[in-house]
């Protein structure tokens, strides 16, 4: 696959250069080439007029390039100092190369103070919040005396407040003469900080412009045509309450309270959207509803009947559809065929099978129908799901859930990482499901998506429903709520 096709990119000294593109446009591949993690088939990298070859990250570091990866490259069980020194260890010298932790620690303190990146050098990384971990990554890069920093989607997991902090750090770095490549797909941040913007799409550079370009123009360049995420839909025909959550409390893996006294109700025929920065308890909330995570306190009931003690299987079989947030890990068995994935949670139910037997003919036949109906692009229903593109894999999951009669449809991050075509398709399916009277619970960290689809928007912050607002609430106001700001909406 050609992920990058004849890309030219020039970064000036002391510049913040945004690299803007959709998911899958080839941004990360480009940066991995720069950083020596992926080898280019042709082309060259020139730094300060000198041609450099980056065959390994070490070459990039020596050439003065540092990278903060989207998924942090930190060893969770190491201390901050150990993580920062790894690969460039201060030692007492000699063949033994015993570590000089004191000197390494001083360096961490020095750099973090210089750029205002507060951290405890002796803390174990896995105990630290994401924002701090990102700071450690930045310090790690800075201690290596780089001139060019690449930040790969640095804001994806941050709260608005943390994003502001990050932008301030970036300005401080710029003031210190560093160049920054800022990879993102968020227009607002680009506009806020970039000196120049390069838009890439389908592995090619579409344009290089300045921050004066409007958001609409940037969006059009990014997706290739003007798109509105606005979905055509009629006002909701609210029916009776289907899902009722009251006083729900749920813990995460480490025993921290992730969902804290949440109340919400989803009615038949409406989409309740949950907005919030990722990691504010949405995952745990959905998993608790689906019986995948123990409920610490409170109740979840479906059509007035408590789901307490019900297993996931029973819940799924009581007409609940579920699109899990992590498609490739939770939603599919990639080695299974498309046909098998289409019955992954109904294989032991007529017409597909019984408790003991599979009806393989019925499974095959239904797969052919559903592949056609949902336009799943696959060589055959018998092809392994792994051979499908991300968008088509998600269509398999959606087809699995939406081709059986539902009263509740729970969709978590249903369009994450998909191309625009697939996103629109899935959005239409969700609205269609609502229109036939299903109650829909939509969780998304893309605020635009929630605002476009939902009939009511519940904002989740630190495990609590902070407010429930109508979808025409101004974006800025919802953003403020997501950051824990004061509310003007009514509690649920």
């Amino acid at each position: 696959m050609l992920a990058n096709d004849h890309i030219d990119l020039t970064v000036e000294p002391g510049e913040i250069h945004a690299l803007l593109g959709e998911n899958g446009a080839g941004k990360s591949t480009l940066m991995n080439v720069l950083y020596g993690l992926v080898q280019p088939d042709q082309g060259e990298i020139v730094i300060d007029g000198r041609r450099v070859e980056c065959h390994a990250p070490q070459d990039a570091i020596e050439a003065g390039i540092g990278m903060v990866h989207q998924h942090f490259m930190l060893v969770p069980v190491f201390t901050v100092t150990e993580n920062v020194m790894l690969g460039a260890e201060q030692t007492h010298g000699g063949p033994v190369a015993a570590l000089d932790r004191r000197r390494a620690r001083e360096r961490v303190v020095e750099v973090s103070r210089e750029y205002g990146l507060a951290m405890d050098p002796d803390a174990i990384v896995e105990d630290l919040p994401v924002g701090v971990q990102q700071r450690i990554e930045i310090v790690k890069v800075l201690t290596r005396e780089v001139d060019l920093l690449i930040l790969d989607e640095p804001t994806a997991v941050l709260t608005p407040q943390e994003i502001d902090d990050l932008l301030a750090v970036m300005r401080a770095l710029q003031a210190a003469g560093k160049s920054i490549v800022f990879i993102t797909h968020k227009l607002r941040e680009v506009k806020a900080i970039a000196d120049r913007i390069t838009v890439i799409r389908g592995g090619r550079v579409v344009a290089t412009t300045g921050p004066e370009t409007s958001e609409d123009e940037l969006a059009a360049m990014m997706v290739g045509r003007s798109v509105s995420l606005a979905v055509d839909k009629q006002p909701a025909q609210l029916g009776e309450p289907v899902l009722e959550v009251a006083g729900l409390a749920v813990d995460d893996e480490r025993g921290h309270r992730a969902v804290d006294r949440v109340d919400l109700t989803v009615h038949a025929g409406e989409v309740l959207g949950i907005a919030g920065v990722q990691g504010n308890g949405q995952t745990e909330l959905v998993e608790a509803i689906m019986g995948l995570r123990p409920v610490v306190a409170g109740t979840v009931s479906l059509r007035g009947r408590s789901l307490a003690g019900r297993r996931t299987k029973q819940i799924l079989h009581s007409r609940v559809g579920y699109v899990p947030e992590d498609r490739s890990v939770d939603g599919l068995v990639k080695e299974f065929t498309v046909a098998e994935n289409l019955v992954l949670n109904m294989y032991d139910t007529e017409p597909f099978g019984t408790r003991f037997m599979l009806h393989r003919d019925a499974i095959t036949k239904s797969a052919a129908d559903r592949v056609a109906r949902f336009d799943v692009r696959t060589s055959s229903p018998q092809a392994p799901a792994a051979t499908l593109s991300g968008g088509n894999q998600q269509k398999v999951i959606v087809a699995r859930e939406l081709t059986r009669p539902l009263t509740l449809f729970v969709a978590a991050q249903p369009t994450r990482g998909l191309d625009v075509g697939s996103i629109e398709f899935i959005h239409r399916q969700i609205i269609h499901e609502r229109d036939v009277g299903t109650a829909v619970l939509l969780v998304s960290s893309e605020l635009e998506e929630v605002l476009a689809l939902a009939d009511r928007v519940a904002v989740m912050y630190r495990g609590r429903i902070h407010a429930v607002v109508p979808p025409d609430t101004p974006r800025e106001e919802v953003g403020l709520l997501m950051a824990g700001g004061s509310t003007s909406g009514e509690p649920a």
Partner: protein, 422 residues
């Protein structure tokens, strides 16, 4: 890496913490020992000597009194785990509890036997002798797994080391050449493991199992075809000499174990110290652990992941090979088919029980060695306890450890996962 904001709204305080669970178990064991062993105790006094035979000064205690006293001490240690701040003393209190329960058990056994004197020196030396190969093997496991390569083939490295040591030491009439050859023997199996696991990405457990079969088969075949035909030419190595360290060797109990012994013991202890220092205080160690925990992170800061893994697995092979030499140059002086008898698996257990740390390996190996030595000793005094059950103890203890019955045992995060760039 978790990508979630952890917002601890309430720090969980579980009533049944690890300390309390273990404490309860130790207390119950202590009370049971006090009553059970006390009730069973015979009328002989139980005597312990520090020497390696039954002569010399002995400490005697009434069997009933000893069993009850030690049992209550154990219960007290268990109760200690319930005190606030016990977390810091967890290891010490647990060890004290176990030692006390074992003491109670011994008081019963001795007081009930005609041979009521226990030579602690003999048991200590036996423990060290059985522990010896486990220390080498366990360290080999630590090296591999800390860098992310599961080395289940320790058994295979043992047997090939044992074979090479016997053969070369006989052919060249030099135990030193034998030790060298053992290192090479272990290295060969480790090299196969490394290439298949790292280069060809074969499941590391599959490779390990197959290599064990391969090594057992190959050495067995060569034993039948060569050694059995002409033992004096191929299979009569000398024993490694015993070296004394001056006055230290006269220390009671510990002297003979640590300072009047052979190169293998000195080497094993030195290696434990060296690997410990290396792993936690040098550049090599930091990188090894990084590669075993998060290879991609190590790669992005310029650490050569595969190079580290190769190097560690190969060094581990050398250590396990030398451990194999103890079978033919120290414990016995000839090679026989399948003589490692699954000790490679106990070495693996020692590594896990020792929580992937060198010092842990040493302690686990000594504990396992003690179980073996005790089983043999109880056999000689005609104990009604079948020696088989004591011999099972290391394995059952390891199962208990991985099942989290005594705290969580955590393997390096990337252990067993091949690293593929990109």
């Amino acid at each position: 890496m978790t990508a979630a904001v952890h917002t601890p709204t309430s720090e969980p305080v579980r009533f049944w913490s690890r300390e309390r669970k273990v404490g309860l178990a130790v207390t119950v064991a202590g009370v049971l020992a006090a009553f059970g062993f006390g009730a069973l105790a015979g009328d002989q006094p139980a005597s312990f000597t520090l020497a390696d035979n039954t002569s010399g000064a002995a400490v005697s205690i009434n069997g009933l009194l000893g069993a009850v006293l030690f049992g209550l001490l154990g219960a007290a240690a268990g109760a200690g785990l319930w005190l606030p701040g016990a977390r810091r003393w967890f290891g010490a209190l647990l060890a004290a509890g176990i030692v006390a329960v074992v003491g109670s058990f011994l008081c019963w056994q001795l007081s009930d036997s005609a041979l009521n004197i226990m030579p602690l020196g003999q048991v200590a030396q036996g423990s060290m002798r059985f522990a010896l190969p486990l220390i080498f093997g366990g360290l080999a496991g630590v090296l591999g797994e800390r860098s992310g390569v599961i080395n289940i083939a320790i058994e295979g490295q043992f047997i090939s080391g044992a074979f090479a040591a016997a053969m070369v030491a006989t052919l060249l009439a030099s135990v030193w050449a034998g030790i060298l050859a053992a290192a090479v023997g272990g290295l060969v199996i480790a090299a196969l493991l490394a290439v298949l696991a790292i280069r060809y990405l074969v499941d590391q457990i599959v490779v390990g199992v197959v290599l064990i079969v391969f090594a057992l088969g190959l050495t067995g075949f060569l034993f039948e075809q060569l050694m059995r035909q002409d033992p004096s030419r191929y299979n009569q190595p000398a024993r490694v000499p015993t070296w004394e360290v001056g006055l230290l060797s006269d220390i009671p109990l510990l002297g003979p174990v640590l300072f009047r012994t052979n190169i293998f013991v000195y080497l094993a202890l030195a290696l434990v110290a060296a690997v410990h220092f290396g792993l936690f205080h040098t550049r090599w160690g930091l990188r090894t652990r990084a590669v075993g925990e998060h290879p991609t992170a190590a790669d992005t800061v310029g650490v050569r992941v595969l190079g580290m893994r190769y190097r560690n697995v190969l060094v581990g092979g050398v250590l396990a090979g030398i451990g194999g030499a103890t079978f033919t140059l120290e414990a016995t002086t000839n090679f026989s088919k399948g003589m490692t008898a699954g000790l490679g698996f106990i070495a693996l257990a020692a590594m896990i029980f020792g929580r992937w740390s060198p010092v842990g390996v040493l302690l686990a190996a000594l504990f396992f060695g003690f179980c073996r030595a005790l089983a043999i000793y109880l056999g000689t005094i005609g104990s009604p306890i079948p020696s088989q059950f004591l011999n099972m103890l290391p394995y059952l203890a390891t199962i208990a450890a991985v099942a989290g019955l005594a705290g969580r045992v955590r393997a390096p995060a990337a252990d067993g996962k091949p690293y593929v760039k990109g």
